[in-house]
Each structure stands twice: as structure tokens, then as C-alpha cells.
């Protein structure tokens, strides 16, 4: 497959994804038709995931059709929705108004402009350094010192998770990899496919042979068996997708392993945050299945690490 042109590779990839999704949808329908009352909720969960994947594939496909600007706009909107969900659940006060205005109307667009012009030196430090320093100054001008450090830290976390981390997905397009020019879109596809399969394979393995809870304080359902089985099989899948990446089979396997580990651990951290706030879902965009951040918690932690490792090893 490696000998195909980049456009042909992208088409083959999307055709393959379409076929897999169709197969999954069929299996899901058959399972739903034949499910016992006890197996119902598992099948419903799987079918809901499959529907979400169709939406994701359609959105990413449309964005790809518009090239780099399309992908940037898509992830900008994703970041906006995620940041909105995160800040909604924070107990901010009147004194935070100007810091929040800066977060939504300055930091968020500027970060995406920086990624768009591929200014690596800035987009990698804009939020961790400049937003980190500027927003507390704005909050301090609000004059309200009640829980000041807590409020400031929470807004910074929101920006890191929703804007910084997610912006590193379209940032993959800025990587100049010798021998891999014009195919960076496929890196995004690789990341999304590996993360999504890791989520679902952990779920499936967990249902099949899950016995020992891996982090009972953080998650009532994640098991050691699910974690090992899911991460291993998803990394293997990532290895098998090496032909759309600039890595060898072993390289793709290793990258997928790192992505899946970061994704799993990131999911645990986001669960810890939700539990502290006493909530089950970040939002309600998708009926009964949470909001944007619930879909993205694994990608958030995996994207910057994948970006930096690819950059380090290949450029």
C-alpha cells in the first residue's frame, strides 16, 4: 500500500473506514435485534459509539476535503465547544469576567492562527507561558480574591485541555517530514483511529474478561484486563496501519502504544476532575452520552505527546 500516491492512500483509507463502519453498523443492528434484556445496555453503548464514529468520520472527511483550512476550522470549533463545557462547570465569579473574555476571544483564536501559520515556537508555548501569566493578571484586576488561586488555576486547566491539547491535532499538519510531504492529514486519521479503537477495545475486552478494577476510586468500570487487552490490541491495529504513517511497522506500533497509554491515563485524570465536581458528563450535546469533552478526553492527552514525538524523531 505504501507505493500508492497520497491521494490514493487517503481514498483507500476512507474507503476502508467506511467499510469497517458499515460492517460495525450491521453487526450492531443484529446484536440489538437479538440482545437479551441484560445485554441490552452493552449493545446500546456500542451502537451509540458507532453512530458517533459515523459523525466523526463525516466531519473529518468534510474537513479533509477543504484541506488545511477546513481541518483548522473544524478543530477550532471543537475547542470552542470543549472550552465552553469546561468553563460552564467551573465556579467562576464576577472578577473572572475579563480573564474569561480573553480566554474565549483572544487566546482561543490566536492559538489556532499560530497553528495555521505553523509558528511552532509560539504555538507550543503561547498557552503554557503567555496565557498562564496574562490571565491571572486580568483576574487580579477584577479585585475579587475569594478562592483566587483556585479560580485562576481552573481557567488555565480549561485552556490547556480544550485549546492547547486539541490544537495539537491540526498542528500535525505543520510537520515537515522528509518523504511524507502532503500526507500529514493521514497522521490525524492515524491518531483518531488509534484513540477510538483503544476506547472501544478497552470496553469490549472489559466486558469479555474484566475482573479486577484498575482504579476504583476514579472509574467504576475500567478493569486491568480491559486495559491490557484494549491497549495491546489497539496498538497492534496502529502497527497494522503503518502504511499511512511515516513510521515502520514497529514504529507505528510503538507510537500507537504511547498514544493509547496517554489516552487511558488522560481519561482517568478527566474522570478524577468530574468526580471532584460531582458530575457524570461534561455536557449534553449528545443525548445520554455526554458532551464534547467526554468524546475527547483520550485525544486531549495523546495529541501533544504524539505531535512532539513525531516531530522529534522524524523532522
Amino acid at each position: 500500500m505504501a507505493h500508492l500516491s497520497s491521494r490514493a492512500q487517503a481514498m483507500a483509507l476512507f474507503a476502508g473506514i467506511g467499510a469497517v463502519l458499515l460492517l460495525a453498523t450491521l453487526i450492531g443492528r443484529v446484536l440489538a435485534w437479538r440482545a437479551s434484556p441484560t445485554g441490552r445496555s452493552t449493545v446500546d453503548n456500542l451502537n451509540a459509539r458507532i453512530n458517533a464514529w459515523w459523525v466523526m468520520a463525516a466531519l473529518v472527511g468534510i474537513a479533509f476535503a477543504f484541506g488545511r483550512p477546513g481541518v483548522l476550522v473544524l478543530f477550532f470549533l471543537v475547542s470552542l465547544l470543549a472550552l465552553r463545557e469546561f468553563i460552564t462547570l467551573l465556579p467562576t465569579r464576577g472578577g473572572d469576567y475579563w480573564a474569561l473574555v480573553a480566554a474565549f476571544y483572544l487566546v482561543l483564536p490566536i492559538q489556532y492562527v499560530l497553528v495555521g501559520i505553523a509558528w511552532y515556537g509560539m504555538f507550543s508555548i503561547f498557552i503554557p507561558v503567555y496565557a498562564f501569566l496574562l490571565l491571572p493578571i486580568l483576574a487580579a484586576t477584577g479585585g475579587d480574591t475569594t478562592r483566587f488561586l483556585e479560580r485562576t488555576a481552573k481557567v488555565q486547566w480549561g485552556l490547556m485541555i480544550s485549546v492547547f491539547c486539541i490544537s495539537h491535532v491540526p498542528a500535525l499538519l505543520t510537520l515537515q517530514i522528509p518523504g511524507y510531504e502532503h500526507r500529514q492529514l493521514l497522521l490525524i486519521a492515524f491518531l483518531v483511529i488509534v484513540v477510538q479503537s483503544s476506547d472501544v477495545l478497552q470496553y469490549v475486552w472489559g466486558k469479555l474478561c474484566g475482573k479486577h478494577l484498575i482504579a476504583p476510586a476514579l472509574s467504576p468500570s475500567k478493569t486491568v484486563e480491559g486495559f491490557i487487552g484494549g491497549v495491546a490490541s489497539a496498538s497492534l491495529l496502529g502497527g497494522l496501519l503503518w502504511w499511512i504513517t511515516p513510521f515502520s511497522f514497529l514504529g507505528a506500533f510503538g507510537m500507537a502504544l504511547v498514544i493509547n497509554l496517554m489516552g487511558f491515563l488522560g481519561g482517568l485524570v478527566m474522570s478524577a476532575i468530574k468526580r471532584d465536581r460531582g458530575i457524570k458528563d461534561w455536557g449534553h450535546m449528545i443525548e445520554g452520552h455526554g458532551g464534547m469533552l467526554d468524546r475527547l478526553d483520550s485525544v486531549c492527552f495523546a495529541a501533544p505527546v504524539f505531535f512532539h514525538m513525531t516531530r522529534y524523531f522524524l523532522t
Binding site: 468553563i87 460552564t88 464576577g94 469576567y97 473574555v101 449534553h284
Partner: protein
């Protein structure tokens, strides 16, 4: 003819900004009704208005303070032509018309009113004590249904005195309707109406 377009774009804007989620305790048909809610920003009435399904929205008219909305061409255009507001004078010493009579006339003409009994935008949490207009209106109009609406988070989207709105998720909770009891006195009724509104609020908001 521009008015429906302006109205549509304002409701569309607030929906996009706040992702406005709506909860109803029971389905309602058009009728003699007043929607009353907690008041914290100018966006409150637009959110309630856009949360109503089209048949209910067509009969809904906001009750607005004449002293504020009569100044300026844009404000007059918005309140009269776009939102078809019912203007009442808040200042008792200076008023020329009885606000209750104005509101009752609108109800008798078939409109459903959107009213904020706190009387002003509340900068803090919870609900201020209700002004008595709600009670006098319920006395004047027989068999008037009162529907409490709790608006969550809107005070953070457009705080009092600020111009730039923040995109945050907001919810509107419509509660079960209540009516004035026979011989119920003003204090008891206003307390009951206020309690019916507070019960819709999530625990941290009060």
C-alpha cells in the same frame, strides 16, 4: 417585514452562544398565562422567548420597564417592533398609567406575558423578594396560569453592566403552572410563587 428576521437572528444567536437546553415539567397549550423567571441579565427574556415552542412563542410578549426602553431609536425599535413588548412604568411616583391595568389588558387581549417579579436584574445568587405586580395581576385576571421558569447560568453569560457575552451553557427549567388560591393574601401568594421558582434551581445556584 424585517422584524421576524431580527427576532430569528437574536434567538439563533442566543441558542448558539448558550446551547440553550430546555426542560418542561409538563406540555402546555396556548392559553391565559404569565411566565415568570429569575432576572440577572438582559438575555433572560430572549432565552425564555427562544425556549418556547413556536405556538407559545407567537402569543408571548415581554413586560419591560418603560423608563429604560423608551430611550433611543434602537431600543424602541427592538421593544415595540421586534419583541412586541408591554411597557410599564416602574417608578410609582412618576407613572401615568397603572402597570397592572396595562398588563391585564394585554392578557385579556390573548397574549401570554413574560415577567420578572424581582423587578430588577439581580447581581447575586438566589432570588430577591418579589414585587407585588404578580399578585395584583393574578387578582385582576381570573383563572390566570403562572408558570415559573428558572434560568441557569445566564448571569455569567451577560453580567449586569458588561457588554461582551461569554459563551457558556445555559438551561431553562419550566415548572408546573400555579394559580392564585381563593382568598389567598398577597404575602402568602408571593412567597408561594417565589418558592415554586426556587425549587427548580439546581442546588449550587442558591
Amino acid at each position: 417585514m424585517l422584524e421576524p428576521l431580527v427576532a430569528r437572528s437574536l434567538t439563533g444567536f442566543i441558542r448558539l452562544l448558550t446551547g440553550s437546553r430546555v426542560f418542561w415539567s409538563e406540555p402546555l397549550a396556548p392559553g391565559r398565562r404569565v411566565y415568570y423567571g429569575n432576572h440577572s441579565s438582559h438575555g433572560d427574556f430572549v432565552l425564555i422567548w427562544s425556549a418556547l415552542p413556536p405556538p407559545l412563542r407567537a402569543q408571548a410578549r415581554p413586560v419591560a420597564a418603560a423608563e429604560y426602553w423608551r430611550h433611543g431609536v434602537l431600543r424602541r425599535y427592538l421593544i415595540h417592533r421586534v419583541f412586541k413588548g408591554v411597557l410599564v412604568e416602574r417608578d410609582a411616583a412618576q407613572r401615568t398609567e397603572d402597570p397592572v391595568a396595562t398588563m391585564a389588558a394585554a392578557v385579556d387581549a390573548g397574549s401570554a406575558l413574560i415577567l420578572f417579579p424581582e423587578g430588577t436584574r439581580n447581581p447575586g445568587d438566589g432570588v430577591l423578594p418579589f414585587k407585588s405586580g404578580l399578585y395584583h395581576l393574578a387578582t385582576r385576571c381570573a383563572d390566570l396560569e403562572l408558570v415559573p421558569v428558572w434560568l441557569e447560568n445566564l448571569s455569567r453569560v451577560m453580567p449586569k453592566g458588561r457588554l461582551i457575552p461569554l459563551p457558556l451553557l445555559c438551561t431553562a427549567h419550566f415548572g408546573p403552572p400555579l394559580r392564585l388560591g381563593d382568598g389567598e393574601d398577597k404575602h402568602d401568594f408571593l412567597e408561594r410563587a417565589r418558592a415554586a421558582l426556587l425549587v427548580l434551581a439546581p442546588p449550587e445556584a442558591v
